[in-house]
């Protein structure tokens, strides 16, 4: 039996993020007024409340800030996927993003591991995921 992955109801500015992911871009925001970066995208700058915000494609490169490997599925759609790992990644652009780590043996996962973004199509939604960057081998 296949169950669909949980798909959020996208409202307002949330849609643009996933539209860009569909185009194979991981985006974050930079404030044109104060220069602060932020992820996830918002309609105001968290730092200075400016509305002059730019949605920028990140390099997709960063390091694992922390991780957790799930040995029990967080949703019926993922029962066959365990163990799987979710991560917080510090991008080189200076923002922290959330995602999944793929193509990694749980025994090799550690904080500080360099990763690079990839994308997964989940039916109507495309989401960013990360894989170990292993030098240039997996560079995009």
């Amino acid at each position: 039996m296949s169950t669909a992955r949980p798909i959020p109801t996208l409202r307002g500015e949330e849609r643009a993020y996933f539209d860009r992911a569909r185009a194979r871009e991981l985006v974050y925001q930079r404030c044109r007024a104060c220069g602060a970066g932020q992820w996830y995208p918002r309609v105001v700058c968290q730092t200075c409340q400016s509305v002059d915000l730019e949605l920028i494609a990140a390099s997709g490169r960063g390091v694992i800030h922390s991780f957790t490997t799930l040995y029990r599925a967080g949703h019926p759609s993922r029962t066959a996927d365990v163990p799987y790992t979710v991560v917080l990644v510090d991008l080189v652009e200076g923002v922290r993003v959330f995602g999944e780590l793929v193509d990694a043996d749980p025994a090799d996962i550690r904080i500080g591991l360099p990763v690079v973004v990839d994308f997964q199509d989940l039916g109507e939604l495309t989401v960013p995921v990360f894989r170990p960057s292993n030098g240039e081998k997996n560079a995009r």
Partner: protein
Amino acid sequence: MRGEIAVVGIGEVDLFESKGRSPAGLMAEASRLAVADAGLKMTDIDGLFTASSVYYTPSLTFAEYAGLNPRYSDSTVVGGASFEAHVGHAAAAIRAGLCDYALITYGSTQRSDRGKLVSQAEWLPYEQPYAMIHPISPMGLIAHRHMHQFGTTSEQLAHVAVSARSWALRNPQAPYRTPLTVDEVLSSPVISSPLHKLDCCLVTDGGAAVVLCSADRARDLPKPPVYVLGFGEAANHRNISAMPDLTTTRATESARRAYQMAGLRPTDIDVANVYDAFTISLLILLEDLGFVPKGEGGPFVESGAIAPGGSVALNPNGGGLSYSHPGMLGLFLLTEAVRQLRGEAGERQVGGATTALAHGMGLTLGAHATVILGTEDTR
């Protein structure tokens, strides 16, 4: 505000499994017990404070269910910390003359509901598609980071659960009657690394309620008043991807505000009731509340400091890890603090306790509210 408001009644009901009561029914029964404990009638209650994960408008739902007609109501929901927040909000409302007798109540059938949809949790769209386990996976992210920064180990975390069980063995109402070992915690299944099943709180039903009023009114009531000496709130995030620092929370700020108002320091606290949804969240809160310096929580709990006879009398009823955790624990921290300050805690009574702290934590260490309580002598 210090010493001007008192807790005058407490009630708890069905702490493991609901005996046929709905969440509102648990709230109603706990409220009836708390109001009777205070020597009052339900019709005296004119301020209502409640939070819920099953009712969208909990104060409205409960007022209807219990036949209350409050002139002041507050459904502030910041997860498990809601009820400590309600203490501050109720104290402010009483001082402003907006109500005289405030009831804080909560009920949940989380254990009986197991496997059914019980949560109204709204997901951040940027996290939801990955299907982590909320709130265990965010706590796993937090735990790995604490281990990375400070060398904390799974064995040390296990000591938190073991200490909680040691306390619970002194509480006849606690559900598990045998000691727990570090090995048992470590050999329980890993749910979301590095956290094992026994690093997580119990899943129970339960209801609780407390009644507050002014110190002047409290003097006429049967039980010794337990005074609100200090209060502080703070919040840092709703979603784990927005947590500013995975290993230091704004409990530091809520606690600083509460200690300052009370004129007390961590070493002045006789009984600490600290939200223990997970071993790691408890460890971090011990650091942030000032019971041990940042990063030293692991060796501290490993030394037996939070077990009976240790340097901090922590969650004497067994806490969320070994007493009861019906979805949100916050109100049960307050009821135990009050019992301890009244000297009603039986075999687990902390001798001569005159001050108690109750710290509520909401969601994944995202919301914080600290309440410091004291007896007449400390006022």
